[in-house]
């Protein structure tokens, strides 16, 4: 059952071979056993999950079930969910029981899915290893001495350890794709604007995008059918016709043109990662694809551009945490300014404070043009590289991360080294393009390697097709960590 696809689970529920209450309880039992070691969840609330399961069973009995009705889905703790503790991985929100639902949460509720719990994450999604969470690091189920990646590390570990059927993540600079790669699962960051940001706690609003994480491309397609869609409460939500993301899964790949950017295959990538990526490309050739050499000359500037734009937007977004309306307030303070300064200094962790400091500096008087506007100009150059590339190819492929999962604490003291682990994923957020990661083998120490697939704007259905055909021909995606 823990190996079943979303489609198989939905069929079993509708055929009454299993009830949602039974299915949900099985997952809750497995979580109770494995979560203490993995720390993939911040909040588990069996009572609320089982109440939803009972309602789903009534809907199944009435014959009004949708594709995901009754299926247990974990939610990244960045999504506000009514009556659920929603911490965003921060002490700042240690007591924030959300009074409302994020759009994504409403979508899953309307679909009759079960909220199985809130997954651990880097504090305010700022991190690439899940080590900045106030609630402790998540362990990688493939090797508990290693990180799961971040910031959606709890989600990635939960999916890899079969603690949920599928789960949500968010991706600002690689936070869905990099942990998916490091934990050997599949993850999709849609085109910017496809999934509503309403009720998703903001990090860098022009880059943040929600997306699904699961065990196969087919599962991701079913998740996308629930998550995508226009929402007037998000000012950058795109008004587009509803689409079925599973519609192209079974198309053959004959004639598919895969672009390989030379910059992604230059120095910096581990030899073990390179070997797995090359084997995946060879597999795609067997499936009928042709290879096109392309160049993204400005992509090397992604990291500096990102580390201006994202902290700038973060420093503005996080100004709302002031100890007045919600969240942490320092126990002792003098005047109002002192209350703000102490509440924020005590409520935010070191990495969040570092990024607020960078952002405040680059937006401050006299530096705005030199940093922020300059970075936005280079952002356009980076996006234009992709527009040129897609004149020659249909999808772009490369590694998701330069290395497999590193050890806990290994990069802790050096923010620059940590930032460089996002080198292949950030350009995609800056351009607003859809990107995904799927498992494509194992590197040193038997740790999973992720293949990144980057699509043109709104090409998610084609990317899912490209991933699904590979998953029909290979079995990397169905490998599970040993000993769980």
């Amino acid at each position: 059952m823990f190996e079943s696809s979303l489609k198989q689970l939905g069929d079993a529920l509708r055929a009454k071979n299993i009830s949602s209450v039974e299915l949900t309880q099985s997952y809750l039992d497995r979580m109770a056993k494995l979560n203490p070691e993995l720390n993939a969840f911040i909040t588990i609330n069996p009572e609320m999950s089982l109440a939803q399961a009972k309602a789903a069973d009534a809907r199944l009995a009435a014959g009004t079930a949708d594709a995901l009705t009754g299926i247990p889905i974990a939610q990244k703790d960045i999504f506000c969910a009514k009556d659920w503790l929603t911490t965003c991985g921060s002490k700042m929100l240690h007591n924030f029981v959300s009074p409302y639902d994020a759009h994504i949460i409403s979508q899953f509720n309307n679909a009759g899915a079960i909220n199985l719990g809130k997954t651990n994450m880097d504090e305010f999604a700022m991190g690439s290893s899940n080590e900045t969470s106030h609630y402790g690091p998540v362990k990688n189920p493939w090797d508990t001495a290693r990180v799961p990646g971040g910031s959606s590390g709890g989600t990635a570990a939960a999916v890899a350890a079969r603690l949920c059927a599928a789960a949500t993540g968010t991706d600002t600079g690689g936070s869905i794709r990099q942990p998916a790669a490091l934990c050997g699962i599949s993850g999709l960051k849609p085109t910017y604007g496809v999934c509503s940001r309403y009720g998703m706690i903001a990090f860098a609003s022009s880059l943040d995008q929600a997306g699904p994480m699961g065990r196969s491309a087919e599962d991701l397609a079913l998740m996308m059918n629930v998550m995508a869609g226009f929402d007037e409460r998000d000012s950058t939500s795109l008004q587009r016709d509803k689409e079925d993301y599973a519609r192209d899964l079974n198309k053959p790949l004959t004639g598919l043109r895969i672009g390989l950017p030379k910059e992604f295959f230059a120095e910096g990538m581990g030899a073990d990662v390179a070997k797995a990526i090359e084997a995946a490309i060879a597999e795609y050739k067997k499936l009928g694809a042709t290879i096109v050499d392309i160049s993204l000359p400005n992509s090397k500037l992604s990291v500096p551009v990102y580390y201006v734009l994202a902290p700038a937007e973060a420093s503005s977004n996080l100004s709302r945490f002031d100890g007045v309306r919600y969240g942490y307030r320092a126990p002792e303070y003098g005047d109002l300014a002192d209350m703000y300064e102490k509440s924020r200094a005590q409520g935010f962790g070191a990495e969040v404070q570092r990024r607020i400091m960078i952002g405040t500096y680059v937006l401050s008087h006299g530096y705005y043009d030199a940093y922020y506007i300059k970075a936005q100009r280079i952002r356009r150059l980076i996006a234009q590289d992709f527009v040129e590339a897609y004149k020659q190819c249909d999808v772009i492929m490369g590694p998701t991360s330069p290395s497999t999962a590193f050890k806990l604490g290994e990069k802790g003291d050096d923010p620059v080294q940590m930032y460089l682990s996002d080198i292949y994923t950030i350009a995609v957020n800056l351009a607003g393009l859809p990107g995904m990661s799927i498992p494509c083998g194992f590197g040193d120490n038997d740790m999973p390697v992720g293949l990144q697939i980057i699509g043109n704007y709104f090409d998610e259905a084609r990317m899912l097709n490209v991933a699904h055909q590979y998953q029909l021909a290979t079995d990397w995606h169905s490998r599970a960590p040993k000993g769980l």
């Binding site: 009074p99 950058t236 356009r380 923010p415």
Partner: protein, 108 residues
């Protein structure tokens, strides 16, 4: 306040003084001890080294890009769409009294 001067040497050298960092911390409303200021100064200087690469890129005539789709903001009708949920929203506040958020005295 010091009036704006295009201090290119500061922008390119990216070396912040203790006073610079104290000022940023104040603007960001973050209480920091002298040792935290020093740690922050070293880390910020390291990160600005990473950012310095940007300055060498020619961006003459390139429009800044804030969103990939370059959309104009949508407008909506000017009518009430939300109901008042003061109790629900104040239930998560650190300190409230008689429907008001409490903060230290601002005006003497």
């Amino acid at each position: 306040m010091i009036p704006y001067q295009p201090c290119l040497n500061i922008v390119f050298a990216m070396s912040l003084s203790t006073q610079d960092v104290e000022k940023v911390a104040r603007l960001a409303r973050l209480a920091m001890s002298p040792s935290e200021i020093e740690t922050s100064r070293n880390q910020l200087n390291g990160i600005f080294g990473l950012i310095a690469e940007m300055q060498a890129v020619n961006t003459d005539g390139v429009e800044p890009m804030s969103h990939s789709q370059d959309l104009a903001q949508r407008l909506r009708e000017d009518k009430v769409t939300e109901s008042n949920q003061r109790e629900a929203f104040q239930a998560v506040a650190p300190q409230v009294e008689q429907g008001l958020f409490l903060v230290p005295k601002v005006i003497e």
